[in-house]
Point group: C2
Chain length 567, copies 2
């Protein structure tokens, strides 16, 4: 294999396009079901892999996602870069002060989160030799140690992604789980490095365990002290003297590549270096929000989905599927991890509900088990049956983790007025000439789409309007009413090119009128919707932008695509 | 070669880090010498390649940038993706209406830009058989046709990058050169495809020439009509209904990957598909500026430099260097291309100066010749000597193109006040308590650093200040004076936390005082500096941001990193 041929490059682009598109589509479907997008992305990979697509169209699958050769290597290289960069972004989002504060508790959880599943995994494998044994040339003790290790490693990337998708990454709980997952994974990789040394001297492990430990401490300590200080001092210089934004962007990425190389060389995987670099550089107040956003958006939207979809590409989950083995592995892994981490968290004084959420959060495996399994498979330590069992375990725990955290914590999504709007309640050109006409016009719009009585709504809203005008700054008005029969809030919106006099206190004509109807019993949502509307339109440019939309879809596009800029 | 090993991944990250860092450093050095950054990036690759680094440290070079194996393939895959994405960005920046308007003239330039160098190249090779011949098994006619083709292909990526670096990409001239380069390259690749078919049936060329032509017309026409309309309709829907900004970002990238795959499959290289997709999707007014910026910044700052630096990696420019051959190839290529394009442009009525700039602009070769040369080398059509001559020709024409365009057009860089500031003329805490004290304090600061007389400057500026206050809105003041002895403008800046009364018309205390000294004879620069200052600080947030800087470097960092956001 010399280099990429014309044909290879075609295939590479096709497979990247298909991976990204499928990941996005299934990610969006997962979001529809209130699940983290990453679950959809992993499922996209399984559908594209040998399990489904490969078994229905084996030839086409072999062409698009070959098992060997240049395209495979190029895709592997790309996904290795993708996952390292995603971990850098995850690192940049870490709030160091929170992480420090939780360091001690996180260590306890990480410790028990390794010891319990490791012990359980070791004992089970040791005593169920018939089930796990594969007639390999390695002693059963080594196999037992390997399974024990595989049971105890979490998947930092998957956990980070799930927490981000659920919007709890930057909370105390999120930072806690991440701190524990880092410690857990570092320890897990060190143990795995030792194991590799036992079965294969002179191979992947260039270092003794003691050396690896010293190197990791040196690297992490250096990053958090010298590195952090240096980045904080270099960033203003780079932004002042090099071209903008190329200077700072390439500095961050160069450092990420080199840090990834260092930890990969030490033997604890490239993602740790990239993650620590992200933490060190993200901590600097001199890194502009603009730079963070560019890096974060590009990497989370493009690199991360391609990586997560690529996980399922290589494995067939039907052949080599040994139900008994799969069930034993999943049960042992889950019990060990959840019990260990939950108990650790409770021991440190966390409330039951949060402790359980931490337990299930740490239970997510994924890429790590698959990388580990691949290495072990190559060395002949495990057979295909066991490999598939490990991968299925990784998938099941990842898939259940997000669902269970969500079920336990019930995180509240921010209230957006746009969630209560609909195309049928959007009037791009109001006919009403004065306040009352406009309020009644919107009332009948709202009534029509929700089978309510237009007169009742109109009277209520107009009554409230007469008490005190709801005209706000920037040409907004927000007439509103509470209705006893309503099940959930309803918003109607009318646009008036010329404006209507709503007696607003800045004297400007009103051009955007929101009619907000909320259930009588629901005290909070009216205020939250009002707050969201005024936040969204606090910049007069947004009001002007809305008038460029010709239909409801274009209006929604403008609102949604400005959400992140409000920060 | 099964897959990327632990060691391969380490090397991959190290080499990416080194490539990116060197490209940035040499790019910045190029900018210091008023050259396009891409020149520095290409030179970085030559320094890192076998020519310099490889000949001094051959073993280390072989480890970091191996000639074969998995790391090479992974890096090739990454750079193939990088260049396609860069061309997509270049496409997004195309102003379609300008390009259409110039279509006819551009075709003439493209046509003559192929025919003249092709003829010249063919005749030269045909009659200088001794020099070019390499005892290959292919007839001399084929070799002559190949050299003729190599002489006539421009390098769209290099040209686009040079024009962007010089800030003339979006001008009429820039769009003209790009339109001509697209046509030129499309034709060149079709000819090359035919040639490949002649020496190797059943290989890379799956299509006959007629089929390729039809497919290209179908693809380009489809993109510009159906594709453009579809993207314009889909974008609002995606932004309204999918997650933001992941939805729109992954849509754009998916389309880019698939378009790249289509043109690579047709046989005219992936970059054309990505470019046309960029043009089609970039034309939509529904693609937000925010999305464009994220894509453009990440790709231009990270992917493009890595690609351009990777060009020089594989070739040793000293061994296999045949001076006579190199000189003949450069002279023929340059004369053919410059004469053909300049004449074409003049024929279409362009003024001499612009016609010459177009001629030299189109003369830039680069990646294309190297890809072409590599293919020909693999097929045994050319030998190493000729390959090196082609690569050197590509480098020399690329290196000279930017310099010559700049020398011919003398594009004027925008005046930035920060270019006339210096650390020694920056006073983070003004001592003066009133208008006159502050003006004289800044005058002595300016005088000290430029060996002028502080009293003279102070008197002049204070005299002007008394005629009418220079206090502007937002807490700015801009006292100024013209001095007969001054060679170039000087700006001094003082910050006052509490503010000084400058009698400004919004009644606010002045917190940022700029003293602007310009040469007596120079009419323009005073106004331009004033305009730049008021543009920079039109947003009150910028004034507040400046007060967070503790020294001159941090101040500069804030100013520079906000430049692009002013739009």
């Amino acid at each position: 294999m010399a280099s990429l041929t014309h044909h290879d490059i075609t295939i590479l682009f096709v497979s990247l396009g298909i991976l990204l598109a499928s990941a996005r589509i299934l990610g969006e479907i997962a979001r529809l079901f209130q699940q983290p997008a990453v679950l959809g992305e992993i499922i996209a990979g399984i559908l594209l892999g040998p399990t489904v697509f490969g078994s229905v169209f084996p030839n086409l699958h072999e062409t698009l996602f070959p098992d060997e050769g240049a395209v495979l290597v190029a895709l592997q290289g790309f996904t290795a870069i993708a996952i390292a960069l995603f971990l850098m972004v995850a690192g940049m989002e870490v709030d160091l002060s929170t992480a420090w504060r939780q360091g001690k508790t996180a260590s306890v959880v990480a410790f028990l989160g390794i010891v319990v599943p490791f012990t359980l995994g070791f004992v089970t494998t040791w005593f169920m030799e018939d089930l796990f044994s594969n007639g390999s040339k390695h002693p059963h003790l080594i196999l037992s140690l390997f399974i024990a290790t595989a049971m105890s490693i979490s998947a930092l990337p998957v956990i980070a992604r799930i927490l981000m998708d659920l919007n709890i990454y930057r909370t105390d709980l999120g930072m806690f789980v991440i701190s524990a997952a880092i410690l857990n994974d570092l320890a897990g990789w060190i143990i795995f490095g030792v194991l590799l040394g036992l079965i294969d001297t002179g191979g992947a492990s260039t270092w003794t365990t003691g050396q690896v430990l010293i190197l990791i401490v040196l690297f992490t300590g250096g990053m958090m002290t010298l590195g952090r200080g240096m980045f904080n001092r270099l960033l203003p210089w780079i932004q002042a003297h090099l071209s903008w934004p190329a200077g700072v962007l390439s500095f961050v990425m160069t450092m990420a590549f080199l840090s990834a190389a260092i930890t990969e060389w030490i033997g604890v995987h490239a993602i740790f270096g990239a993650f620590m670099l992200g933490v060190a550089i993200g901590d600097s107040p001199h890194l502009r929000q603009r730079t963070r956003t560019t890096i974060e958006q590009f990497i989370s939207s493009i690199f991360a989905p391609i990586f997560f979809a690529s996980i399922g590409l290589r494995v067939n989950f039907f052949t080599n599927f040994d139900l008994q083995l799969v069930v034993v592995v999943i049960v042992i892994a889950t019990i060990g991890k959840v019990v260990g981490c939950t108990y650790g968290a409770k021991w440190c004084g966390l409330p039951n509900r949060e402790a359980l959420a931490i337990g299930f959060g740490m239970n997510a495996r994924g890429a790590m088990e698959i990388i580990l399994g691949l290495l072990a498979l190559e060395k002949g330590l495990i057979d295909e049956r066991l490999f598939v069992a490990l991968v299925v375990m990784a998938m099941v725990t990842s898939l259940s983790s997000g669902t269970l955290i969500q079920w336990i914590l019930q995180p509240k999504a921010p209230v957006r007025f746009s969630n209560f709007l609909a195309a049928s309640r959007f009037q791009p050109a109001l006919k009403g000439m004065n306040r009352e006409q406009v309020v009644r016009e919107l009332a009948s719009l709202a009534a029509g789409s929700a089978s309510l009585d237009a007169t009742v709504i109109g009277d209520k809203a107009w009554e409230r309007e007469q008490v005190m005008s709801t005209g706000l700054e920037n040409g907004l008005a927000v007439p509103h009413a509470r209705l006893p029969d309503l099940k959930q809030p309803i918003v109607a919106l009318g646009l008036s090119e010329d404006g209507v006099d709503f007696d607003s206190f800045d004297g400007q004509p009103t051009r955007l009128v929101f009619l907000i109807l909320t259930p009588q019993k629901d005290n909070g949502s009216q205020l939250e919707i009002l707050a969201d509307i005024s936040r969204t339109f606090q910049d007069p440019k947004m009001v002007a932008a809305v008038f460029q939309s010709r239909n409801y879809t274009e209006f929604l596009a403008i609102i949604r695509s400005h959400e992140d800029e409000r920060g």
